[in-house]
Amino acid sequence: MIWENIVLAFTSLKANKMRALLTMLGIIIGIAAVITIMTVGDSLLLYVENEMTSLGANNIMISLQERTDDANKFSAVMNSMMSTEIPGEKDLISIEMIKNLYNKYKDEIRAITVYDIMGSGQVTQGREYANVSIAGVSAGYFASEDHDMIGGNIFSVRDLEEGRNVAIVSSIVTDNLFNGDVEKAIGSNIEVSIGDKYYTYTIVGVYDYVVQSMQAIMTSSYDITTEMFIPYKTSVKQTHNNSGVTNFYIVAKAGVDSDLLANKIENFFDGYYRNNNDYQVVAFNMQAMVSMVSSMISTITIAISVIAGIALIVGGIGVMNIMLVSITERTREIGTRKALGATNSSIRIQFIVEAIIICLIGGAIGIIFGIIGGRIAAGILGYTTSPSISSMVISLLFSMATGVFFGYYPANKAAKMNPIDALRYE
């Protein structure tokens, strides 16, 4: 009987293809939007996780922040990033403090990396140029960071100790300035302008910079700003900023609980900053940050999906509307069926099945569009993911539920028709 109803539903939909399609449109748009958004959310999650774990999941980031009552570390970091307040020299984390920290927790710390942003500039050679942001880094930076060297070497101990004018640049720089000839670039001098000052560095290493597909679409390689690294001491010399840094990283030794270590570090710095009313030092491991960001993205994804799901309700109302029209049109058919022995419930089932079929087909088409849309959007982000089977199944169940919910009232109306009135209907 159910099978017959399904066949029947298909024949009546076939009789009004255009109308059926338009009716489905609301469902299609709703489901496609939900699936697309969920796919993009997944992709974003993957993107963020990859980006952040490339900073080293076991790394602890220690950063100077404005004092805040915000209990959530992550939002505190966000706030301080947004802030235009520049810490004074007395507020900075001094090299002295870092040394003391290292001495205290020697057994747990594998490496300390200082990362000091010197500024943005332009590397030029002849007419060619590349945009860079210059960062002074200490020993250990390349150990904790995930940079794929394609030529030359990372800084030698002497480079770092003596503060030599050497640089490690991205493959974008060598592409722009040396036509991609990495060998030729190594050992070459480049001139870098930072603000109104010019500095000359010798390239000692080149790391591979992977252009994200979104960047490739929107920008040329001349517009991309990549990181250029110089030894920390060099940057201190050139900026004459000898007093300290705003943040640095610690790589914990294997087997060390980095959460615990982060707490110890915070307590350590509390000793220095207890009486500082403006700034404090916070430490957290990357893994904690990753999970914080991930849960935030998930929440946002669900919220937007719910909003997109409203389209489903609108679609469902469309289905109900068209079912009511269809029932009025088929009043005589309903009367005939009743005369031939159809019970109220068999008429009800017939129309509910029809509504379900409309919604299920709409849902299936929506899923297909959602997959396509999600692929395109995720492709732009550079992390292609497919919607999970469970999200597809849930979508189908949800569209089915929409069919039952919005099909019930019209179907019930049909079922309750008086056979004589229905037969007499012109």
């Binding site: 009987m1 009789a15 159809a342 109220n344 008086n418 037969l423």
Partner: protein, 236 residues
């Protein structure tokens, strides 16, 4: 006379249009129809013959009175039981054919069997037999719109026969047909009546068609005014 297949006793039907306006359409009709009889109910429009047909076809309930159809007291049956009785006991033939437009002739004939829960194979087999009976076997895949009026009515008659009903209730079956095809349809009723022993109740306003039947029941203003057997008339 053999046993009564239809036994109406003192059937009254009132309609209520608004609270005050009570309209009595049937004023206590009693009627017995024997098994295998071919009767006709005639009367001018507004006489109550359609209402009587709805009573006989249990599409509507009488306000008072009793109705026993093929031994079943239907006046007290529930909606679901009524559906079942309509399905098994009554074959409807309408003036406007009332075939389901989106389905083929064969599927239309299968419909009452579908509601009776007959298996697919059996339905198809029986539907083909019926198509053959009405001489439409070459049209099983045709849709109603591809059939002429007479052909549609023959399919409708085949459909009415699907569950071997106790009676066929035909409401102006030739009303929308020209006299020639109307003749063919009437011949088919006679054939079913004679060969299959089906009880036929024909509702018509045509005295000519009525005169072909075993008994003519004339209705006027909600009362049976005469019953006419073959030759003699019994005026009530």
């Amino acid at each position: 006379m053999s046993e009564s297949i239809i036994k109406l006793e003192n059937i009254v039907k009132k309609f209520y249009i608004g609270k005050q306006n009570e309209l009595e359409i049937l004023h206590g009709i009693s009627l017995k129809v024997s098994k295998g009889e071919f009767i006709s109910i005639v009367g001018p429009s507004g006489s109550g013959k359609s209402t009587l047909m709805n009573m006989i076809g249990i599409l509507d309930r009488p306000t008072s009175g009793s109705y026993i159809l093929d031994g079943i007291d239907v006046s007290s049956a529930k909606d679901k039981e009524l559906s079942n009785i309509r399905n098994k006991k009554i074959g409807f033939v309408f003036q406007t054919y009332n075939l389901i437009s989106r389905t083929t002739a064969l599927k239309n004939i299968e419909l009452p069997m579908l509601y009776a829960g007959v298996s697919k194979n059996e339905r198809e087999k029986r539907a083909r037999e019926l198509l053959k009976l009405v001489e439409m076997e070459d049209r099983e895949k045709h849709f109603p719109e591809e059939l002429s009026g007479g052909q549609k009515q023959r399919v409708a008659i085949a459909r009415a026969m699907a569950n071997n009903p106790a009676i066929i209730l035909a409401d102006e079956p030739t009303g929308a047909l020209d006299s020639k095809t109307g003749r063919l349809v009437m011949d088919l009723f006679h054939k079913l009546n004679k060969e299959q022993g089906i009880t036929v109740v024909l509702i018509t306003h045509s005295k000519e068609l009525a005169s072909e039947t075993d008994r003519i029941i004339s209705i006027k203003d909600g009362n049976i005014i005469s019953e006419e057997y073959g030759g003699g008339t019994i005026v009530k």
